[in-house]
Symmetry: D3
Subunit: 248 residues, 6 copies
């Protein structure tokens, strides 16, 4: 079976991670996953939320939004509607959780890393691309803290990356584009670390329930895709830093 | 291993579904799952959201909130903060999605069923209890439409119920109470239909990643719990209606 | 004259106060006044609003809301409309004022008692039922402070309860249900203490003005109703505490 | 007993009603009650709220606000706080109710009269002054409708005016200024029509409960004050219109 | 060419500045520019925004709003729409900037002067009238600080006033009224100090672009108008204070 | 005098207009002005705001925002603060006004062009870059309407572009970067059309007033800068479209 964009069922779209394309953030990455493009930035603030004050522990938090021009129908801004979009709220909680799962917050120290994922072009998989790109932006910000002597080693404990999988017209597919996603029977987002363990699994029977056999097949596909995403992260960071990151 | 409340590792808390305890809603259920208590109501509105107008299709949507007194620390109302809680937004989207997965929206006709899940006492598992209770409230509202002659048969296609599972101190546990939930390493919410198929799976490595073996164990536990939840739903509806619901 | 629910003109509906039916609040009461049902909770916070800091004085404040399923037409949540309902705002100010009128705030000490009144079923008289129930929840929370040794005696100075009265079809009626309330010519809410003194009187000529003679008649009716409400409060607290509360 | 501003216990402050001092509104009145000054405007809109569409009935609604410079401490604007002040919400509901009590909404026809009461200087009694002034603005707007031939007669059924009374230092006082109001034991707002009947009575035991005897005394004082307010209204409208208004 | 209100092309409308007509603000001015009327108040707060804390520098900030009855069509309140009007936001930023341009913030000391400009009647030029009136209110508030011994000299460095100019039907006009403003091809607001220097110039080609020659003509007209506005300010302050203000 | 980035006093930064880099919008341009980068998109909606319905006239409106990572200090999102930033509101009104000044809205027909300018990197001049880039995005969207046969000719009447000028340390400078802008004594934004006429002039004496001579010098500088911006627009559109746009 060949997909409309020429991919086989188990192929992810080409991923490209462009680092340092913005001036101000401590870490800035443009991730392109096919036609999906997300600007991921990481900015360090030398303070923590009230619940962490005095604990010696740091924090990583994320915000996610879509530009009005990122979608086919112009997407109204949250501030115009006067409320944060429910879907955005759900996604930014997921991004924050995923990144924190591979950070030793004590080792980070009492500071916050603010992650911002702004989708400039949406063609499916924006939340998983955000996680994959945000991880790189976060590590770049941490490297900058090391360069300044504020950290002696990278406070990450592992890689983390994400991919979507789903069932369309009876076929199990890796990395759904928008066209596939909107007609998928089953849709799943999987987030894994560098050891192949799960950080988060979110599977939804959009058009029909799914069986245990399907679940197993989708998880196997996802694992394959995530390995290639981590490969891209490793390459981007190695190119950038000229050395291996510390958790390897 | 015996849990602090005397349960074994694979026991859910006692579930109680009280129907018809409110005067106005078309369907009203108080679900008690141990000390967790949620008021689930279903109200029919004879109109649909703009995107369904003229399509002949109906809609099921849900809202979820916690009363200020439902938690140990008083929970500030959303209106006081001026914004919908991110977690609530995520949960109410999940409830709506789960219920719609077992409703034939065409058969429902151009009307909306509004589901409201208001947690009056929270002791873990409020989102899964909400789904389990809301399903019964929804069916009661549909039965009322049948009594009025507005529907000739129940537009549900199956049962749907939910349960939480997780890993605490190395043990895989069914139906976490708050104490267990807040110290869980891995936390998973599973929603299934009456045939044992998945509607939604959401697993999170709260304190550490989880392996494929753990995932398999947790899904098996969840299946067991959901069967008992559906048993409780069946009993409540049979007691109430004196007959079997139509999708059986 | 016999009312549609069988009551005579000067009869209140049966009142039931269920204490301790929720796990977390310091005081929790379900008040049922006929088909009107309100969950009243009291929670202690060991701090006061800025204007009382350092004064040695405590505070009692209240919030009031109606669940979407409490009314015949589903009541939209405030957070969906983006603003606090004007009527709710008015009622919660009234509840707070009424309770504070019988509390020695100095004796309470620098802490706040948060009262929450959430209407789960509305059939007229929700604001007066809220006051009557909230008083009991507040006293239970204070008793808990005494049990913990944080207070040496109850900081209340009296009982406080409330009832509605009105004129319908020329008849002066005690404790209007929704049907009566919505067709009342004159509508009055009266709040009194245990000595039969007024805390608040709010009378409105809904459909026509009212005379001094009518005002006098309605106040007499209200006094009778409030005595029976205080009787129910006394019984609930005595049952609960096995002793008389300290302001008697 | 002589009050700090030289008044006896049963004297209201001098009231001045200036009509036509603004260009755009259909009716515009500046009411000055001692140092309290409120701009009251009435503007006609040729449509009604949805619940009245097609009923042939009109509507009168009111909004109330205080300018930042109206109070001793600058009053923050509602829009800065992001929410309507609870007290303002309560007052504007009262103004609307009071005015509607003397309007034949059917005779007004399917149009809305928008009343705006903006306090430019506050020295006690702003809500009662608003009602007294707004009535005159409303009648002026109705006269304008008659001048245009849109109404054949004034759709008011009576006068309506308001005054505050209270107990301070054991004395029953008419028309409290801010200094008296802030130290009052009992505070009451009374709204009456031209026949001396009650439209609304709101009495609050601010510092202590109040007895039936006190209530009676305060109502008698209020009646006296309201007669003088109606006198001022009659004079303002007669001066303005050169004729008696139609409900006499 | 004679304008519809009898003015020649280079005549401003009569301006009237009434001081001390409100009780509470430190400075209060009613400015009337033809039928445009704005209440300008200045209130001193003995604290500064966070970014100035500990710098020894004070602050001047402004808010601007229109009463609902100030315009021909009733203007909905910001709080009803739930957001600050874009135009109001723009204007209040301009007022604050203009006033700060003539204040030595260090000499003012760590305190804030809150300026409020509330338009009670709008007939064109409300923003420029606000600046002209607010300057006088601000100086009165500063004089009060001097009277209290909190300042030894006036911290203003110059006068500041504003006027609108525009092109209508080919004619360059000074001080546009609403009728002229709404049909203007070009519209310009000019703010100058007492030495004839520019503080702000905002010119907009409403209906068509404008040439350099037109720009020059409009600036000359504006200079003339501003001189007469400063004349009115000087007279109001001299009448009020019986002496020349300190920056002359 | 050589500026810190090597430019002479009358040099603008290099400008780059990248078209078609996003998939969904009808027109999409990335404008880079030195380190300032703004994504400008134009999307057509086949309806108009209520005030234009049935008039045959179209509309052009703009929104402007800065990504959190666009500034040195992370810029909090509007939705987090709950209100639209005052500065953003002012800028988006300016962008809309500027674009409409060169569009024949009747010729556009009853449709709206939504312009979105999202700053991804801010180094001064973001509002003027937005206008220059948005014009190109708007024309591309119009060309697309022509390609679809919905318009027979381009409804623009001219070019429009913008630039900032200012006085820093006594020098008049073209196109201020952030460093210059934040220390400028005088700051001016100028918007001109292709004929060298003014669309809008906004000059502010940030640190001191400015003289007529300075104003004249700055306008001359701006004219020079705008010509080069229009040159860049012309080149981008010619490259893109392979033909001259219709208003030449």
């Amino acid at each position: 079976m060949i997909r409309h964009d020429g991919r086989t069922q188990d192929m992810a779209r080409p991923v490209r991670l462009t680092t340092h394309f913005l001036q101000h953030p401590d870490g800035a990455v443009l991730i392109e996953l096919g036609a999906t493009k997300v600007i991921c930035t990481a900015m360090v603030e030398e303070k923590v939320p009230p619940f962490l004050k005095g604990t010696g522990s740091g924090w990583v938090t994320a915000e996610y939004a879509m530009l009005p021009g990122s979608t086919q129908q112009r997407k109204q801004r949250d501030i115009t509607k006067g409320r944060l979009d429910g879907r955005s709220s759900e996604i930014q909680r997921l991004i924050g959780r995923s990144l924190r799962s591979v950070v030793d917050l004590k080792a980070l120290g009492e500071r916050t890393i603010w992650i911002d994922c702004d989708v400039i072009s949406a063609d499916g998989g924006t939340r998983t691309a955000s996680i994959t790109g945000a991880y790189v932006a976060m590590v770049l910000a941490m490297e900058k803290l090391m360069d300044k002597g504020l950290l002696s080693q990278l406070p990450t404990t592992d890689w983390v990356a994400a991919i979507s999988v789903g069932v369309c017209g009876g076929e199990q597919l890796l990395d759904l584009c928008y066209l596939e996603d909107s007609s998928a029977d089953v849709d799943m987002n999987v987030i894994m670390n560098g050891k192949g363990e799960f950080i988060e699994v979110q599977g939804t029977g959009e058009a029909r329930p799914f069986s245990r056999v399907e679940l197993d097949g989708l998880l196997a596909l996802a694992e394959k895709g995530i390995q290639s995403m981590i490969g891209a992260q490793r390459k981007a960071l190695t190119d950038e830093l000229g050395r291996r990151t510390s958790h390897e």
